[in-house]
Amino acid sequence: MTDSHSKLETACLSAAKEIHGECSSATSGGASSTPNSQPGNESLQGCGEPLVRLLGRQASQLLTLSSEPSAEGNGKDEKTALILKRLEDIITASYARFYAYLFGELPVCWRLMYTNASILKFAVLYLSYSGETGLRKGAEEMESGLDEMVKTLDLALILAGGAGERRGRRWIDEAFALLEGVLQARKLSPDGEHVIGDRPHKRRKGMSNDEEREAKLWEDLPSFSPHEPFTPPIKHPVQRAQAISLEAFQAYMTRKTNPVNPGPSPLVLSGVPTSWPARTTHPWSKPAYLLSRTFSGRRLVPVEVGRSYVDEGWGQKIMPFGDFLRSHIDPAPGGTKTAYLAQHPLLTQLPAFRADILIPDYCYSAPPGHPTDPAQDQPELDSPRLNVWFGPPGTITPLHTDPYHNLLVQVVGRKYVRLYAPWETGRMRARGREGGVEMGNTSEVDVGVVEGWDKGGGGEEEGEFREVPFLECILEPGDTLYIPIGWWHYVRGLSVSFSVSFWWN
């Protein structure tokens, strides 16, 4: 059998075997010298003997359990429950380390431990879901079992980065794809829910015909509302141009500027993402399309809840993408708290979306360093760093500066951006260290309050801040804003808005 179910079952069992082997070699002293041992950065050893042994034991329990025939009263359910509890113990113990260490100092073994325990937990859940025990369960239990499986793997991706070369993100992506296959087959089966099989995947040939058909598929479905509760006036527009060649862009970035105002200036380019599927055949402007790529909205995403990350009561929440759409993007009138899927590498977490965009050629240019403060320059990135920004009207990213050049591509809706030059840094009222966290790249100034767009207490220094020259623009769908390194920017969603940012250096 080569269907999704048997493939996924095999993947689960081999993951358990591999994890068991890796745990044994990590605890048998001197493992580092044996030929089978993992390279140093793949070892769980740093998590300490107790957790490594506990994980190894659970893997072996799962293997034993799966080889036993299932029968009423042989305690299989109890054993499964205990394995799940122990894996949860390992996951929470690893997660505790994510908090305890400073960001960036967390030893990679903890992310590996989290990911492996999650993969194993998924394996236990899937095998009992698809096995005979699972088939005894009702539709509702099946549904919540499915949610639990999705949650387990998504948390490993979002919180632990799907660490590990041998399995990690690759294994998880594969498991998600297979799980969707299993589900599709189940839906198509004639007598409903409880049959597991698969149909051969439809292969799409004849590209252009298919593309046309695909575009039609979404055509009649509703788009996000273009409603814009507030539109700021534009007094000092950023220069605009049609999409230019890579050479012209390179020349634009590195042309000689006067020593008082060094470095390139922001630029709005139109027509960059015209050929992106996200703007054509795979419309990100349609909720139905987005749901179709997120396992019917089941996949989890991290969301910032609250107006702005410097506000009281702001917090981060991980929720199903479908819930985010329903309660925050397209909510019934009455209004919920603003929530923003911000600065998240969604295209890495959900590779189906990655195919909907293209990395602009401009990211392969060689940009200049920071114009006023070379200490801000970062080690060269291997590849551009992609983040998505998806939210309802009124999302705010407070005035801040990033240590990379940035292309902000507007895919859906409209966004307002205000920009201040790097040589004005002295007047940006940068925050300092706050509660042990360096906030020096973020300004104390709330541009919306200074301009009277938002309510809030105004300080005396506001008058002075108003004197500082700035540029501004409203990004339309299809626009790309180039923000050179060091430029301070304030971003405000005007309508429902979906953007992708590309950092490079």
Binding site: P50, R53, L82, A93, R97
Partner: protein
């Protein structure tokens, strides 16, 4: 005397008899007698093991003692180290047994005799050195409490970090000086919480909610100042803090628990996930014996907590 325990038992740390091969020990959800001895002198619970000092059998341990910990034990007997503590960010501190506390980035670094990352002098009479997830607290023989650690969780320090006494340097918790019921005599810490007990049986707590939903620890002051915690009208005789739970013993012998019960660490049974308020818990009484009028009165005389389990030291009184 008896040792009663509840909570995490993943490595058999609540089982003082041998485990069977391939046995997966389950957690214990209500306080259950796990050990008896003429006298139980001391209980030290760790994440994967428990060490108990008894009169008749000497030092007993249950669970998995990691190799590193065995190496540490050897190192501590060879040196003058008197106290050791390890935080969840890997940082370890030791008292050199004389004047100073040294801090090391990790236990392996300490065991390889690498020079410390920090040395804090003038720590003459430490009676306790405890750790929470992101820092440490030390108690002196005169009752002074010093804290230090990660500034992001300043509330765990019980003091406000200033430029003179930054978070990263051991500094006096001034809220715990000149207390109405005398100096601090005991510290306990775990997760993002620290508790201190005065000579006159008052309980003080401080901390940060950490990862725990704030609602289940709402009885504990989550501010940068060490504040008194009141459990009805009781005087508190002993206290123990786990990763996200507390156990308090009153001078009248009542046991109160609070916080997370995911592993049964509160001893309130498998149905309870957490206790948001102080909850009285009683130890199991052998029904058969009490029916015959033979039951001894059991009195709890001390409490202890591992990150995810709890222990009651019980005295039989006839």
């Amino acid at each position: 005397m008896e040792l009663h325990a509840a909570g995490l038992n993943a490595w058999g740390q609540l089982r003082f008899e041998k485990l069977e091969a391939n046995e997966e020990p389950d957690d214990i959800s209500t306080f259950t007698c796990v050990l008896s001895d003429d006298k139980i002198i001391h209980v030290r619970p760790f994440f994967s093991y428990t060490v108990v000092d008894t009169k008749t059998s000497g030092l007993l341990s249950a669970g998995l003692v990691p190799k590193e910990r065995l190496a540490l034990r050897t190192a501590m007997t060879k040196t003058t180290y008197s106290h050791f503590a390890e935080a969840s960010n890997g940082i370890v501190v030791v008292h050199d047994g004389d004047q100073s506390v040294t801090q090391h980035p990790s236990l392996p670094s300490l065991l390889s005799n690498n020079p410390p990352s920090h040395t804090f002098p003038n720590f003459p009479n430490i009676t306790q050195l405890v750790s929470f997830d992101t820092g440490f607290a030390a108690l002196s023989s005169t009752g002074a409490v010093y804290t230090w650690g990660d500034e992001r969780y300043a509330a765990c320090l019980g003091r406000e970090p200033t430029s003179e006494s930054p978070a990263s340097t051991p500094s006096l918790v001034s809220d715990l000086t000149n207390l109405p019921t005398g100096p601090i005599t005991k510290l306990s810490a775990g997760g993002y919480l620290v508790a201190a007990l005065t000579a006159g049986n008052d309980l003080y707590c401080w901390g940060h909610p950490g990862r725990t939903p704030a609602s289940i620890l709402s009885e504990v002051p989550m501010t940068e100042s060490a504040s008194p915690v009141v459990i009805d009208e009781f005087d508190i005789a002993d206290v123990a803090v786990g990763e996200a739970h507390l156990v308090a013993l009153t001078t009248t012998g009542e046991v109160f628990v609070l916080g997370d019960n995911s592993n049964g660490q509160l001893g309130l049974g498998p149905q309870v996930t957490a206790a948001a308020g102080w909850t009285r818990v009683s130890i199991g009484v052998d029904k058969e014996l009490s029916g015959k009028g033979l039951s001894e009165t059991k009195v709890v005389v001390g409490v202890a907590a591992g990150p995810r389990n709890s222990f009651l030291i019980v005295q039989n009184q006839t």
